[in-house]
Amino acid sequence: MEYLRNINLLTNYSISINFRNFGLSKFSLYKIIKMDLQIKFEEKIFENKRRAPDEFKIIANTLRQDIIKSLLLAGSGHSGGPLGIADLMSVLYFGGYINYNPTEPEWKDRDRFVLSAGHMAPILYAVLARAGYFPAAELATLRKFGSRLQGHPGLDVKLPGIETSSGSLGQGVSIAVGMAMSHKLVDKDSKEVYAITGDGELQEGICWEAAMTAGTYGLDNFCWIVDNNDCQIDGRVKNVMSIYPIKEKFEAFGFTVFEIDGHNIVEIIQTLDKFTRYHALRKGKPVCIIAKTYMGNGVSFMHDNYKWHGNPPNKEQAAKALEELSK
C-alpha cells in the first residue's frame, strides 16, 4: 500500500509538472508513470480474419491484460463488464465479422460497431489498439488529462475507430438503429451494424423504443448483443429491476433471438455466422444475441461479482490478475 501511495503521489506530481511546463509532452508523462509501475504494453496487432477457436482465447486474454493494465494506471474505471465481453469482442473484431480498415478509420465501406454500454470503454480501447487504430502504448493514458481515451467514449477527441460518443445508457443502441436504417433504407447497401448493450441498460426505456423501430423496419443488417451478466452497480439485475424474460421481449419486438454462452467461442462464431447469413438472405428481421456472461471473467476474484462493476484493481490485485491471465 505504501508503494501505491507513492505511485499516486508521483502521478499527481507528474501531472502538475505537465501543467507548469508545457515543454513536457503528454508522451513523456506516460513514460514517467509507466516506468514507475513497470507496466508495458507490447505493441502487437491482430488481423481480422477467420480463425480457429483457440486463437480467440489468446486474443481475448491479451485484451483482458490490456484492460487490467490500463485500469490500474487510470486509478478509476470499470473492470468487470469489459473483462466479461472480451471473448465476444475478440471474435467480433478479429474473426472477420466487422469490416474495418485501421489505416482508414472513415472508410466508407466499413461496418459499424457501437458500444452502447459506454462504461465498458476499456475493452473497446484495447480492441482498437490491437486492431491497429493507434499504438497500444496509448492505453496507458486511459482517463488521463488530455487523453483521447476518455472515461466514456467521446467523438470530440477523435480517437480513430470510435463511431459515436456513448455513456448515457440506451442512447448508443438507438444511434446504432439509426445507422442501420441509414444503410438499409437510404443507401440500400449491405453494411452491417453491431451494438452491445448491458443487461441493466435494458431498464432504460429508450432501448425498447429502439427495439420497436428495429423490428418495425425489419433491420436485418442489425445485430444487437446483450451482455447478460446479471450484474449492475447496485447488485443483481433481477433484484434491482428485473428485465426478464429478455428473449421473449425481443421476439415480441420482431427480433430473431439467440441465447448463447458468451464465453463459448464456438457458440459465438456459430451465432455470428447465422446473423451474417440471415442478413445475406435478407430475412427482414433484426438479430438479438443474448450472451450469458460473467462479470470479471478470467480473473478469479472478480468473477461474477457485481462489486467489480465500477472499480479498478489496485497494484496487488492487478498483479494477481495479470498472473492469472498470463497462464
Binding site: T164, S168, S174, I175
Partner: protein, 338 residues
C-alpha cells in the same frame, strides 16, 4: 417611420415545412424523422414529396433524436421535428450527449413553441427551451420572426454543418420580411434605426416590437431601434454592444420565460461589455393555460403594449428619473385604446 409593412398572415411552421420539402429536391442526403405529429409540424410536406427519405418512429422523441444521430453519423443531414415541448425536453439527454457532444449533423424543428399554441394549454406551451438549449455547447439556436424568415432559417441550418435547433410557432402571424431581407446565421437584423432605446426581440415578438416602436415614435417622439435577434446562439455580440453603447438602454422581448432566454443572453453580453438598464418582456415565471393565442399573449404580457411600457421604463432608468414614473407599466393600460 413605417419600415415594414404587413403582407398577410402565415405560420412560421409553414416556412419550415415548405423549406424542407424544397430542400429535399436539392439535398439527396436530407432525411426526416417523424414522431407522429407530422401533419402539425408540417414535415408532412417533405413526406409527401420524398416518402423514401421520411421515417416515422412513432411518439418516441428520445429514440427519434438518437435515430437521427445515427443517420447523421452515417453521412445524412437528419431532421427531426416535434412540438418544442417534447423536442427539447423529453429528449434533453439525447440532445446533450448524442447530438451536441457528438457534434452530429442533426437539425431539430421545435414546433408549436411559446404561449401562442393556445388552446392545448400549459403542457404544450414550451416557454423554457431557450434557457436549456443555449447552455448546450456546439448548438446553433434560431427563432425566426415570420414565415419567410422561417423558410430562410430552415435552409440555412440544413446547409450548415453541425447541430441546430429551429424554434417556431403554430398560428398564422404577420408576414413582414421579404426576399431581400438578409438572413445570415449569427447576424442580427436591425429592422428599425433609432438611438433612444434598443428593442431586441426574437420570434413572434419582433412584429410586436415594430408596433411598439411606432407607438413610441407617434406618442412620445422616441426613436426606438428594433433588432431581430433571430439567432440566439451564437448570439450577435456586436449588435448588442452597439445597441448598448448607442441607445444606452435595452428592452428584450420573447415568447419565453424571462429567466434564461433571449433577455438573459442579452444581459450576459451587456454585463460583460457595456452594462445598461435592461427591461425584459416575456413570460413571468409561470405556466400558461388554455385560450386563444392572442388572448394568452395579452394575459401573460407578451404584446406590443408591454414592450412599449418597458421601453418607457428603460428610458427613465437610463435618465435616472425612473422613480417619478414608477407606475409606468400602467401606461400600457392607459394607451390600450390607441
Amino acid at each position: 417611420m413605417k419600415t415594414y409593412e404587413k403582407k398577410g398572415d402565415k405560420a412560421t411552421r409553414n416556412g419550415f415545412g415548405e423549406a424542407l420539402a424544397e430542400l429535399g429536391d436539392t439535398m439527396p442526403e436530407l432525411v426526416v424523422i417523424g414522431a407522429d405529429v407530422t401533419g402539425s409540424v408540417l414535415t408532412s410536406f417533405f413526406q409527401a414529396k420524398h416518402p423514401d427519405r421520411f421515417f416515422s418512429v412513432g411518439v418516441a422523441e428520445q429514440n427519434a433524436t438518437t435515430v437521427a444521430v445515427g443517420m447523421a453519423l452515417s453521412g445524412k443531414v437528419a431532421v427531426f421535428s416535434s412540438y418544442s415541448a417534447f423536442a427539447a425536453f423529453r429528449n434533453a439527454d439525447q440532445l446533450r450527449v448524442s447530438v451536441c457532444y457528438n457534434e452530429a449533423n442533426v437539425k431539430i424543428g421545435g414546433a408549436h413553441s411559446g404561449i401562442t399554441v393556445g388552446p392545448d394549454g400549459a403542457t404544450h406551451q414550451s416557454l423554457e427551451e431557450i434557457a436549456f438549449l443555449r447552455a448546450l455547447p456546439n448548438l446553433t439556436l434560431v427563432s425566426p420572426c415570420d414565415y419567410l424568415e422561417a423558410k430562410k432559417a430552415t435552409k440555412a441550418i440544413c446547409e450548415m454543418v453541425g447541430p441546430a435547433f429551429l424554434r417556431f410557432g403554430r398560428p398564422a402571424v404577420p408576414m413582414f420580411t421579404n426576399d431581400d431581407t438578409p438572413f445570415i446565421l449569427g447576424k442580427a437584423n436591425i429592422l428599425r434605426e433609432g438611438n433612444d432605446v434598443a428593442i431586441i426581440a426574437c420570434g413572434l415578438l419582433v412584429w410586436e416590437s415594430l408596433l411598439a416602436a411606432e407607438k413610441l415614435q407617434e406618442i412620445h417622439g422616441i426613436n426606438a431601434r428594433v433588432i431581430n435577434m433571430h439567432t440566439i446562439k451564437p448570439i450577435d455580440v456586436q449588435a448588442i454592444v452597439d445597441a448598448a453603447r448607442e441607445c444606452a438602454c435595452i428592452v428584450t422581448a420573447e415568447e419565453h420565460q424571462v429567466h434564461g432566454g433571449l433577455g438573459g443572453a442579452v444581459a450576459e453580453v451587456t454585463a460583460k461589455n457595456s452594462p445598461v438598464p435592461i427591461e425584459l418582456v416575456g413570460m413571468k415565471d409561470s405556466f400558461g393555460g388554455s385560450g386563444e393565442p392572442f388572448e394568452l399573449a395579452e394575459k401573460y404580457g407578451m404584446t406590443w403594449k408591454e414592450i412599449y411600457a418597458s421601453a418607457l421604463v428603460a428610458i427613465e432608468r437610463k435618465k435616472g428619473t425612473y422613480n417619478k414614473i414608477r407606475q409606468v407599466k400602467d401606461v400600457a393600460t392607459y394607451h390600450e385604446g390607441l
